[in-house]
């Protein structure tokens, strides 16, 4: 029996520094559901609660009240088994390249699966598959992770989590600090991975463009609450609501709005450059 939702939060409240005067409520009665198999984006201004939410999903943090469910199961039902939750919901943190420690790339990738109890053939297979999913050549497996470039290190860290075969993959700003080509590589790779393996993916990001290009639906957070959770196109059609909480729409959407104001109407549901180019070509073909 598979549950209705891959991820579900019910009335979750979480406070930092509970006993100190500087206590802040990072999540204020948050409820949300994420269906399995797609790529969901999570955006919000700094301090909106994104990182907290993400750490609650794999049990790094425990909610003050409310329930966290993965595949319909309360992850805190058996607190002693919380470690297993982390194999189910793989979390790749920000700038994950700083967590590499092993002597070879293969060993570092194997860390997660080893903690799950895998060894021998199965372990090797997982490592090789994860490396390939992550865009790492076989020749890199025996190298020291510290000899790699920043982008390659990040792929190693990503492979390390993919190797656990999690049903849910959560990534906190996976493209942070990368150049446009690097961003395309990593996010493209994640999208391919999700489609091929059916893994539910949750991407936290600040980039509207990335959300528009890679996510099926988007959760918008503001001030410790969920503002909205809708399909991508619907989220970006609400520019006013987004700017009210310090967010924006993709640049190309603003260009489309400006074009419309100046008499060239290609519609406002424009979120990617490719789509805009296509529409403009149509428009230009129409003109006498």
């Amino acid at each position: 029996m598979s549950a209705e939702y891959a991820i579900e939060l019910r009335n979750v409240i979480f406070t930092y520094n509970k006993s100190l005067p500087s206590a802040t409520r990072a999540l204020d009665d948050v409820s949300l559901t994420v269906k399995s198999g797609g790529i969901t984006g999570l955006i919000g201004h700094t301090g909106s609660g994104k990182s907290t939410l993400v750490q609650l999903l794999n049990g790094l943090l425990k909610p003050d009240s409310g329930t966290v469910l993965l595949d319909g199961i309360d992850i805190w039902a058996e607190p002693k088994k919380i470690r297993e939750v982390r194999f189910k919901a793989g979390l790749v943190m920000q700038y994950p390249e700083y967590q590499l420690f092993a002597e070879t790339v293969a060993e570092d990738i194997a860390f997660g699966p080893k903690n799950m109890g895998l060894f021998g053939e199965e372990l090797e297979k997982r490592v090789r598959e994860a490396a390939s999913f992550s865009g790492l050549g076989e020749d890199l497996l025996e190298k020291s992770p510290f000899d790699l470039s920043g982008g390659q290190k990040r792929r190693v860290a990503l492979a390390g989590v993919i190797a656990m075969n999690p049903k849910i993959l959560i990534l906190d700003e996976p493209a942070a600090g990368l150049d446009p080509a690097g961003r395309r590589d990593i996010l493209g790779g994640i999208k391919r991975f999700s489609r091929e393996s059916g893994t539910t993916v949750l991407i936290v990001s600040h980039s509207m463009e990335d959300m528009a290009m890679y996510c099926d639906d988007v959760i918008v957070m503001a001030h410790a609450k969920i503002l909205m959770h809708r399909p991508t196109a619907e989220v970006f059609s609400r520019a006013d609501e987004l700017s009210a909480v310090g967010l924006d729409v993709p640049l190309i959407t603003r260009v489309a709005a400006a074009l419309q104001r100046n008499g060239v109407d290609i519609g406002l549901d424009v979120y990617t450059v490719d789509y805009a180019v296509g529409k403009l070509k149509e428009r230009l073909a129409e003109k006498p």
Binding site: S22, N58, V92, M93, Y98, Q99, F146, G160, M164
Partner: protein, 275 residues
Amino acid sequence: MKSDIIFGQYVEGDSLIHRLDPRIKIVAAFLYIVVIFLAKSATAFALLTLSAVFFVLLTRIPPRMILRAMKPLVFIIVFTAVINLFFMTGEHLLFQFGFVKIYREGLVNAFLIVLRILLLIVATSVFLTYTTTPIALTDALEQLLSPLKHLHVPVHEFSMMMTIALRFIPTLIDETQKIINAQTARGADFTSGGLIRRGKALIPILIPLFISAFRRADELATAMECRCYTGGEGRTRMNTLKSEPEDWAFLCSIVVLGAAVVLLNRLFPLVTIAM
């Protein structure tokens, strides 16, 4: 994690003691400690206790914070008291249970030694840690020790090392927490297993942490060089320490206190400590 460590225990404030020149405070703390050890008679101790209370009030720090400074030493205090109470012999036997004997001398000694320890705690916390920022302390130390430069002691370098170390402690604590989170998210287990197993489990934390520390050190060195840092020679400071009359007055008061203690020791040797 950062919230657990209020580093250096510095308590913000604007009292007289907060505003004293940190160099004077270091010397004053040192002198005060000497005076505490000079005290022998109960009257001297009474005077010292009064002075301690006076200083605590001057800082306007809530007394419970001072009590908190005593917490880590509770064991030593109790241990010392017990040793003196039960194992010191003298002339006046007070109680006897079986072969456990408590003498008046033991009781008095226990009391005075405990008092001495408490006074020492007050001296260091009130003069130094609670009312002086760690940076001010390292600055003051650098200046106080600067005459040693003539003996080729690298005073400036030590001070710079301490300042940088202090500045990076919160940063490294945050980094450690992030690394722990990242490895925990991959199923790392730091709580189970014997000593060796737990020791090995620390490798995925220590290695990234060391690498991170080296990387930061490298970046900091480059940044400092880019801003023309070449060591302590000819280097000036933005906040120069200037001693005001009240600083010297404070120092003198400690010296006077010391003189008073010596006098009281001689003139009113009511009950004396045997150590």
